[in-house]
Amino acid sequence: MTRIALVGNPNAGKTTLFNALTGLRHKVGNYPGVTVDVKSGALRGGDNSEIDIIDLPGVYSLTPHSPDEDVAIKLLFGIDDAPPNFIVNVVDASNLERNLFLTTQLVELGIPMLVVLTMTDAAARRGLRIDERTLSTELGVPVVSTDAPKGAGLQTLVSRLQDQGFGINISPVYAGYSPEITSTISEICAFSPDISPVLISTQLVRETPSKWLTGTDSELIESGRAKLCALDIDPSTAIADDRYIGIGRISARSVIRTTAAATSFSERIDQIALHKVGGYIVFLVIITLVFHAIFTWAQIPAEWIKSGIDSLGALVLSSMPAGELRDLLIAGVIGGVGNTVVFLPQILTLLFLLGLLEDSGYLARGAFLLDRFMNRVGLHGKSFIPMLSSFACAVPGIMATRTIESGRERLVTMFVIPLIPCTARIPVYTMLIAAFIPASWRVNIGVASLDGRALCMVGLFISGIAMSFAVAAILSRTAMKAAPSTFMLELPAYKFPRIGRIMRESIDQAWLFIKRAGTMILAISIALWFLSSHPKIQGKSPKEYERSTYAGRVGTLVEPVLKPLGMDWKIGIGLLASVAAREVFVAAMGAIYNVESSEDDDHLGVAVGARMRAEKDPITGNPAYDIGTGAALLAFFVFAQQCMSTFAVMRRETNGWKWPLLQSVAYLVLAWVAAFIVRTIVLAVNT
């Protein structure tokens, strides 16, 4: 099958073009490096054959500096697999010279290629018009203009792709290098004929060659680099400098100058958005608005869903005969799954607003503003974006760290991400707060009287965020100590966010969350329902029976560890079940309580929290849990790493078991200690 690779600078419009070509609803972002994995889609060829279009992560050159660039560059050189049959190089006309740097390297690969010019309207506003025909002659490959979002020029491009209207430049080595560099490249070529000149020139610039090169090639390149350095030539800059001389010539011939607009739209926004004082005010206002929207506006539809689920529970309660099946349906299915669905408005709002910020180009500005603070705690300005998306879910957050060049800063960021309060914690927090914090509790500060429950939620969020920074600061001063790496980030031009697309993407992601949570909750509820009612042993009192079930035995096993936290074996089962995912906890507790107290119909329904509050100690008959238990549980959920998906993605991204295991154990210990301290304090204050 024919494979066409879409290659270009970050933000050049590759993914937009990919979507237009394949019709796939695929994520595109206005932040350098949103395409973290290689995605592919199909296009029908002219002879009705299938063409596979691959969307590669953005690269500025064929020299990899970060893990996502490594993926793209290895694919183009055909390191692990055959190289693509054709290349479509997406070139941002408003940043022509910088984009042509990659183009001139791609031409040397000797793969038939086609240049697609995007953002020609933005270039025109800057007074630059590009003569496609001259550019095509200069580069030796065909050039087409397109405006993918509006569909202009797309048909020409599609027919070009179908007819395979690509071109190969006949001179495969850049002619403009200084004699020393040219001779170094040809010497290496003579020793190792299988290594191409462009691979040599793109590796000579690195301090150490990429790990995927063969040992001999790597040594040849290192000695070539040493030779150039001895001649007082720094390959890291000299090779690029020489190439830019040629690029300057190409652009001088193919760019027609007209009158430019005085200041660009982006520049005017940035005068406020990146202002030394105003920038931070804008940033705070935006972040406050995001959280306000999640916790206030999104609550309104959430209430509708909640009352819908309540009436569904009531309907099942009144129309089904009493029994285990009804209990399972009400507490496990309606209570558990329903409890996740209630958070749909919040998750959707968060995903949508993050999408808006990303697509408009603001997130890169946030990284610019925050770099200084992030740097203090051993993180990087670029850590800001993965950390912000971790408020939705840690999994995409961890994947987004691939754009961080420094391995150490990337690892620190990945390590602290599970502490960021993600949406899966919200159902647990809400349930526990409702169960243990009295609604009448108000905190009076001066004239203001604040709702204690809301304050508690804010406190939980702040604790998670603060701990992530604290852990980062500790790690970067001890175990992962190193000099701060440099920071470099492109600030793309602002653009109006594509609302429709962001909406579709948020719905897709939210649906994925619901589906995952729903199926897992359902499976665990049913399993727990079975485990906590079997084996059926006759002739035991209900209390003895409870503990002799499978679930009871496991719970009793972990109980000693949880006793100091004021928790019993039932909570132990809930915590064990929530190792799969945090949101499972609510349904798990529902399933456990339901089975052993099904005669008590007062507490059936979705109110798992009410059930926990009503739980009695089997011996004394007093309430089994106090406010200390509630506080300890909340603290536990703030810090513990209970998420299989996070574990799996950590294992994949760090290529081993060490970091995910270390992370899980460290946060488990942290969660236990925090829960113990919080319980002690709460109990001391409360008596």
């Binding site: 500096h65 010279e97 953002m119 890291s236 004082v277 200084r372 440099t486 600030l491």
Partner: protein
């Protein structure tokens, strides 16, 4: 027009043939790159901060944070952080 060493390590003395380093340029001033040093030099060179290139300091962030540099005639800025020793 100033000559600029785009050295993002704060150095006391710029290279002898250059007037100053990037972080000493005021907001909105233009300069010409005469050499690029520091750990990011390879990436900066690829992005077009090459010898003889005309650049503009678009803005410096508060608290001595990153500097935004524009290649004159190009739409997007690049931000870089000055590294303290």
């Amino acid at each position: 027009m100033h000559n600029v060493v785009s050295d993002f390590n704060k150095v006391d003395q710029p290279a002898p043939h250059c007037e100053c380093t990037l972080d000493c340029l005021a907001n909105g001033t233009k300069g010409e790159v005469c050499s690029v040093t520091g750990p990011n030099r390879c990436r900066l060179a690829e992005l077009g901060f090459s010898r003889g290139c005309e650049v503009e300091v678009a803005r410096k962030s508060a608290f001595g944070g990153p500097i935004e540099v524009l290649r004159v005639e190009e739409a997007s800025g690049i931000t870089v952080r000055a590294v303290e020793d």
